[in-house]
């Protein structure tokens, strides 16, 4: 009973100490920001947010995914503080303000055990139109069917990739439709005859983690950070943060952090090309 009483007192003391500490160090700094949109930008944003929160106690940045179109729609409807969009703004979206935080490319990926290393644009078009259905016809293992992994509509990775191939969504023959990058990576990693496309940053990161995928060379350019930086890789895109009004207050502070050396090293560690 005595112990219980003592313990109780200690708890109360600890609580009081906590409150005092909490009150002094966090005074006036209670900030919450919500970022929604592209699943390519989300991991970068989440990591940047984590670092920013460490440096600014009391700040909290929530990151939700759903594709670039969601980032745009949420921003227009005022449902978020920052929209994440992994492409340039379209003319109809120019009412929004875009801040480029990094550059990325789109990599064509297959299973690690696929003998193919290189595909040209014409072969890719045939594959995505469903005209070529066998890996043997494009220089791979004969008799192995090609399983085409495509992205769900509304995803900017899909729009950019189809734009590069000059195909409309209706012309694509797909066997599997996936949502975000992670599902795409797991699907291709689990299917030896699959072919898909995802963000280069996400693909390189997964490869470093041991996911059995291979990034194909496109038009003679390997999908590497160096080639994206130099502009040698054919499918590149900016990763943007969009806002309704010009960024101010907390959002502009966060952008300044993203464009700092510390932000750049976070972005590089996730295999994207920072913008300074």
């Amino acid at each position: 009973m005595k112990c219980l009483f003592a313990c109780g007192r200690i708890t109360v003391l600890a609580l009081v100490a906590y409150w005092i500490g909490f009150g002094s160090s966090h005074a006036g700094e209670n900030l919450r920001l919500l970022a929604t949109g592209s699943s390519t930008v989300a991991p970068v944003m989440a990591e940047l947010a984590r670092k920013y929160e460490q440096a600014h106690p009391g700040a909290r940045i929530d990151v939700q995914t759903g594709g670039s179109s969601r980032g745009i729609a949420d921003m227009i409807n005022g449902l978020c503080d920052m929209g994440m969009v992994s492409r340039d703004l379209k003319p109809s979206e120019r009412v929004l303000h875009a801040y480029t935080i990094a550059h990325d490319g789109i990599a064509v990926i297959t299973h690690r055990d696929n003998p193919i290393d290189v595909l040209d644009r014409a072969r890719l078009i045939e594959i995505y139109r469903g005209e070529v259905r066998d890996w043997g016809d494009v220089g791979g293992a004969a008799g192995v069917p090609i399983v085409v992994v495509n992205k769900a509509a509304g995803r900017s990775t899909l729009e950019l990739f189809l734009h590069y191939l000059d195909l409309s969504p209706d012309q694509v023959h797909s066997d599997i439709i996936i949502g975000d990058n992670q599902q795409g990576l797991k699907t291709v990693a689990g299917n030896r005859s699959g072919i898909g496309y995802v963000s280069i940053g996400a693909a390189l990161h997964a490869q470093q983690e041991g996911v059995p995928i291979k990034l194909l060379t496109l038009e003679g350019a390997e999908p590497t950070i160096a080639n994206v930086t130099a502009g040698n890789y054919p499918i590149t895109r900016p990763l943007n943060i969009v806002t309704r009004k010009p960024a101010q207050g907390a959002v502009s502070e966060l952008l300044a952090f993203i464009h700092s050396d510390e932000g750049a090293s976070v972005i590089e560690s996730l295999n994207f090309v920072p913008v300074r």
Binding site: G66, D175, I176, I177, N191
Partner: protein, 280 residues
């Protein structure tokens, strides 16, 4: 006095729940009406395909997919679940009963995304090694049956435990063997529990989103066989709601309304089976 208080509290709680369901239904109906008027119900079943941004709204393949997924999962899971429950109640030694029941309870409470992830990383590659592309109706049915199996087992097992002891005593007095007793006495007596378990399981199967989206391939087409990819109504809502506008959004609300209707239908069928049980 306290009794009256309790009656009012319970009544109020019930009213809140019931009106919430009504509010959701009215909301869905309200969001659907504009599109229904503009597009017309018929086109949701007769258009040449599903590309809502281009004004084509055929959701029939996805209805077929959802129903096939649900039916398949129930056909696989329900018999296994009933057999497991009977085994645990009448055949298993008591340590097995306790651990078995506990494991099944854990399985029932497991988040569906865990089943989905397992399906995507383990099950789909196994199926793909046999029949491409792996992500398929089959994968969806297997993952769903794994998910609803524990639910049905628990409900049926509870039914078996709550069954009047005198049925068993009477069977023993007649010197019936256990197999005969299970078939002719026990199973008919717990028909309502089985129906309730299957209804719960079926409702969970048709409403499941994440797990299904991860393993079925999400191609909008009526499947030719078990190994074709399909897109369920729920997956479609999850994949497209985030960016859908105008009639596209309305079409997704109509899908939600349809799902709600199917669940109501399931409950009514269950009600019908339960109300007929006094034959035995």
């Amino acid at each position: 006095m306290t009794d009256r208080l309790l009656t009012w509290t319970l009544g109020a709680a019930t009213l809140v729940v019931v009106s919430l369901i009504a509010v959701i239904a009215v909301f869905l109906l309200n969001e659907s009406l504009d599109t229904l008027n503009r597009v017309g119900l018929g086109r949701f079943f007769s258009d040449s395909g599903w590309s809502p941004t281009m004004g084509r709204f055929n959701i029939l393949p996805m209805i077929v997919a959802s129903v096939l997924l649900m039916a398949g999962a129930v056909i696989v899971a329900a018999p296994l679940a009933v057999l497991t429950a009977v085994f645990l109640r009448f055949y298993a030694p008591s340590p097995v009963v306790d651990t078995g029941r506990r494991i099944i309870e854990v399985l029932a409470a497991m988040p569906s995304v865990v089943y989905g992830l397992w399906g995507l990383v383990v099950l789909v590659p196994v199926i793909a090694a046999w029949q491409q592309p792996g992500a398929s109706l089959m994968a969806g049915i297997l993952v769903l049956s794994l998910m609803i199996f524990p639910t049905i087992t628990i409900v049926v097992h509870s039914g078996l435990t709550a069954m009047p002891q005198r049925y068993i005593e009477a069977s023993l007095a007649l010197a019936l063997n256990r197999a005969y007793m299970v078939r002719r006495v026990v199973l008919p007596a717990i028909r309502a529990s089985i129906a309730a378990g299957v209804t719960l399981g079926a409702a969970r199967a048709i409403g499941e989103t994440m797990a299904v989206m991860m393993v079925t391939g999400n191609i909008v087409a009526v499947p030719g066989d078990l190994f074709d990819p399909v897109r369920a109504l729920t997956s479609n809502i999850a994949l497209e709601m985030a960016y859908a506008l105008g009639d596209h959004r309305g079409a997704l609300y109509i899908s939600s309304l349809l799902l709600l209707a199917v669940v109501i239908l399931l409950v009514l069928i269950n009600e019908f089976i339960v109300s007929n049980k006094c034959e035995y």
